[in-house]
Amino acid sequence: MKFGVVVFPGSNCDIDCYKVLSNVLKKDVDYVWHDTENIEKYDVIILPGGFSYGDYLRCGAIARFSKIMDSVVKHANKGKLVIGICNGFQILTEVGLLPGALIRNNNLKFICKTVPIRVENNTTPFTLNCEKGQVINIPIAHGEGNYFIDEEGLAQLEKNNQIVFRYCSEEGLIDEKSNPNGSVKNIAGICNKAGNVLGMMPHPERASELLLGNEDGLILFKSIIDYLERGHFE
């Protein structure tokens, strides 16, 4: 089982993902430079957070043209796993692997804090260890995490069960007050139709060690590992 963490110019949570996988979970993980074309040896590709190409113009807009992205699209189309966290999520929408767009937070500010999110879909490889409706606390850190999708697109997401996480209150209520950035329907993370590509704004890799105050994020990585070990759902 091998993980690849993609490094774009301006990535900065690459190291955080790497540390969780190698130090905490003792898995085999490589950094993969953005101009790499052959990524066949990886089971999971992680597009990490950060500010690829400075996030100039729009977040993820320039990174999505990196050489590696063609291979990432192919990798995804084969049904292999891709997870985009924060900036990675933005890149996935720009490249078209996930629908919608991430726009400026509605308070116009960068927001860094830990928020509760609710697991809406526990049938993806990324959430199979979660209960449906389970609330986990995961940090967010973004200026443009306000998920936008038009009504038609939203209907599709709902119909196909593609909404994976939503921002919620501590008790799990989905309400305006618990929406940190203005996302449509409190959406914090979505997957593609097939369920093998996940994009999320919250950072599970920042919530994977008790020393740092919280290990709620580990459940995602452990789900992926269990999924790969078994090769299928239970």
Binding site: C13, A141, L212
Partner: protein, 733 residues
């Protein structure tokens, strides 16, 4: 040439004469400008250097003291910490976002120029009152986004700092940024040019006309005119800097580099002359080889431009292709622009023709040094007088408590630090909102605690004592998180040093810092001076900011401030005196900024800190929090707001109730512990000769305080928490 050429570059007649003496001829315009920027206060410290001798700057841990891009202090395991603070006050007053952002960019470059990987940022901010001043809110908001904008993008966590508001900063906001990096002992690099024939390389962003005159801009008072004329504003490019950082660290892992320095204030002029001067060598560079982004730039413009995100390297002859390859990989410019010589001269050429030539040392080291006159200002004695009997009695202390919590200086800073990515790189063990931030050091079981502190009202009313307190408080902030204070970087922000009363404040502050540092054996390893923070109306309060780091050698012993469990005992270490002068209470409730500053007994402070270290070491306490502005009442409120618990306090005292609650007596720490450990704590307190008071215990939901049997405070913790957090969001909209 006009008949007073020195004026155009901000020098005096005498300084000009000194240049004539050095050169034995008239300088040409390029040369004169180079002296102008290098001999400005900002670059030469001509008004402050004479006093630096008071600082203790070495001990067994100091690997690099002041004088380099950053100071370096050993933390064992072949690892060391680089640290430095820098001001960007004037640019931030004119363009808050970019001014603050480029301030952060500059301080980060100072750290990686030493070969260190930056691991954390802090910032210390001062603004005028924001409640009724839209422009102040604009500055505050812009500065905070600028700091976040740069730090977040480059991926270095901003883990702490401070913000205070006072009308004295209305015309002169302060923006000081501090950066900390980790480095291995054998990888330390310095800004030196040695080895005749070695090459001078320029890397990073191209050079434009922006920021010309920044150093001299920082060395004058801020008036309408200077604000308009000197539009020394630049746009920061954190993405470029991220690439530059990674490329430089990759390069510094090789053995191609002889010296490295960032291009900061006074740009190429400063980097070339300082590197040559440190290496006792000379340097010849050709400005036509410098990558530029504007056409028709004159040599003088290239030499003094302060364009951001650039570095200067001296590399071994023959390594140029290998160096270029590294920068190409990161998509960055690199160009050989000259070489090292042995003639001690800085020679500037343009297309092979000499356009300027002066002794390198004369620029970097031979600026005039002034010992300014000083005189105790008149206000001091007047303002120190305070008669407590005349203070209006207050009756509803619950209301007073809420007023205090609502002060912009005491409320929660969440609005600020939630805009900073304080977690990136997943090493932030204690996040902002506590006494000091704690950052884990990769590959070790150690952590660094970091804080910035300065109460400038104290420094205004009694600079010597205020400065001692700043050091003591910083150290206390470190100690309560489980750290042992290691080193200081100081950011000295003052008014015009040519005025004797301002210089007195400066001198007293330096003496105060030095005394405290010696007592605690904490060396000053780097720092920054920013003078001329005044407008025609007023000068700022003296603001000597203390940036301090401490070492936690076992991650298991990190201590936090919040109460942990119901039924724990709350104890106050230290004693509370009738010390309400200069306090936030006087200002907020009585509208007064006067009185004598609380006393600080450095011996007692040291014993208190040693006691705290031992209590943590022996795992006798569950929480520890420093008392500062707002005194006991605020410290209790802060602990509660973080813990979702309440507290039941009952004490007896001879002091007035309000004074007991809000006194700012120094050398106090609030701790909580298991009932079973109280005896051991008492024993240790006695051993260290530290007075203590058992205040009460933790309960559910509410804060109640009885003084001499009267219930004076009785409030819901939820209300405290909501209030603390809502003040800044409400004001900032």
């Amino acid at each position: 040439m006009n008949n007073k050429p020195w004026e155009s570059v901000g020098l005096t007649r005498e300084e000009y004469d000194k240049i004539l003496e050095i050169l034995g001829r008239e300088p040409n315009n390029l040369e004169l400008n180079m002296y102008g920027v290098m001999w400005s206060e900002h670059c030469s410290y001509k008004n402050s250097r004479a006093l630096f001798k008071h600082f203790p700057t070495s001990n067994e841990r100091v690997l690099q003291g002041p004088g380099e891009n950053a100071g370096i202090i050993d933390i064992g395991d072949n690892k060391a910490i680089a640290m430095k603070i820098e001001s960007h006050n004037h640019p931030s007053a004119v363009e808050p976002y970019q001014g603050a952002a480029t301030g952060v960019g500059g301080i980060i470059r100072d750290i990686f120029a030493m070969g260190a990987r930056p691991i954390a940022l802090l910032n210390s901010l001062r603004f005028g009152e924001i409640e009724d001043d839209a422009h102040m809110r604009y500055l505050f908001s812009g500065v905070v986004s600028g700091i976040g904008g740069y730090g977040n993008c480059i991926g270095i966590p901003t883990v702490g700092g401070e913000v205070y508001f006072n009308k004295c900063y209305k015309g002169n906001p302060l923006v000081n940024a501090m950066c900390i990096g980790v480095i291995e002992h054998d990888k330390i690099h310095r800004g030196t040019a040695a080895g005749v024939g070695n090459l001078v390389m320029y890397v990073g962003a191209s050079t434009g006309r922006d920021g010309i005159g920044g150093a001299s801009f920082a060395s004058v008072e801020l008036t309408e005119e200077t604000a308009v004329k000197k539009s020394a504003v630049q746009v920061g490019d954190p993405f470029m800097e991220k690439l530059l950082l990674e490329a430089c660290l990759e390069l510094l892992d090789t053995d191609y580099v002889v010296g490295i320095q960032d291009l900061g204030a006074a740009g190429l002029t400063s980097a070339c002359s300082e590197m040559a001067s440190r290496g006792n060598s000379g340097m010849v560079i050709d400005v036509s080889l410098v990558p530029r982004r504007e056409e028709g730039m004159l040599p003088v413009e290239v030499m003094i431009s302060e364009s951001q995100e650039r570095m200067l390297l001296v590399i071994k002859k023959g390594a140029e292709e290998k160096v270029k390859k590294i920068f190409d990989k990161w998509g960055l410019h690199s160009a050989v622009i000259g070489k090292v010589t042995d003639d001690g001269m800085l020679t500037i050429m343009e297309n092979g023709k000499i356009v300027g030539r002066v002794p390198a040392k004369s620029l970097a080291d031979e600026a005039p040094k002034y010992y300014r006159e000083y005189e105790k200002p008149e206000y001091i004695d007047k303002k120190r007088a305070l008669s407590i009997d005349k203070l209006k009695e207050v009756n509803d202390l619950n209301e007073v408590l809420f007023k205090m919590i609502s002060s912009t200086n005491l409320c929660s800073r969440e609005w600020v630090y939630n805009q900073y990515d304080y977690q990136v790189r997943t090493n932030t063990v204690i996040t902002p909102g506590s006494d000091a931030a704690v950052i884990r050091i990769d590959e070790t079981n150690k952590a660094i605690a970091a804080t910035t502190d300065c109460n400038s009202r104290y420094c205004y009313l009694n600079p010597r004592r205020g400065a001692r307190i700043a050091v003591a408080e910083a150290a206390r902030n470190i100690v309560v998180t489980g750290g042992k204070p290691l080193a200081i970087t100081d950011g000295l922000n003052f008014g015009n040093p040519e005025k004797p009363d301002r210089f007195w404040q400066f001198r007293e502050s330096i003496l105060g810092i030095s005394e405290a540092c010696r007592k605690f054996n904490i060396p000053v390893v780097s720092g920054n001076v920013s003078f001329y923070n005044e407008t025609p109306e007023n000068a700022i309060y003296p603001t000597p900011i203390i940036g301090m780091i401490g070492l936690i050698d076992d991650l298991d012993k990190v201590m936090t401030m919040e109460f942990k469990e119901e039924g724990d005992i709350i104890v106050l270490l230290g004693s509370t005196k009738e010390e309400i002068g200069a306090s936030e209470y006087l200002k907020v409730i009585h509208g007064l900024e006067l009185g004598e500053v609380p006393e600080i007994d450095l011996d007692l402070e040291k014993r208190l800190q040693d006691l705290c270290v031992e209590l943590i070491d022996k795992k006798l306490i569950k929480s520890a929090h420093d008392l500062s502005e707002g005194g006991l009442a605020l410290a209790l409120s802060e602990c509660l707001a973080k813990s979702n618990l309440g507290a039941e306090i009952s004490v007896d005292t001879d002091l007035r109730e309000d004074i007991y609650l809000f006194s700012e007596s120094q050398s106090r720490i609030l701790v909580s512990l298991d009932t079973n450990n109280v005896d051991k704590l008492k024993e240790l307190c006695n051993r260290y000769e530290i007075p203590f008071t058992v205040l009460g215990r933790t309960i559910k939901d509410k804060l109640s305080i009885k003084i001499n049997g009267d219930l004076v405070i009785d409030v819901k913790v939820e209300d405290i928490t909501d209030k603390l957090r809502s003040v800044l969001p409400c004001i900032m909209g």
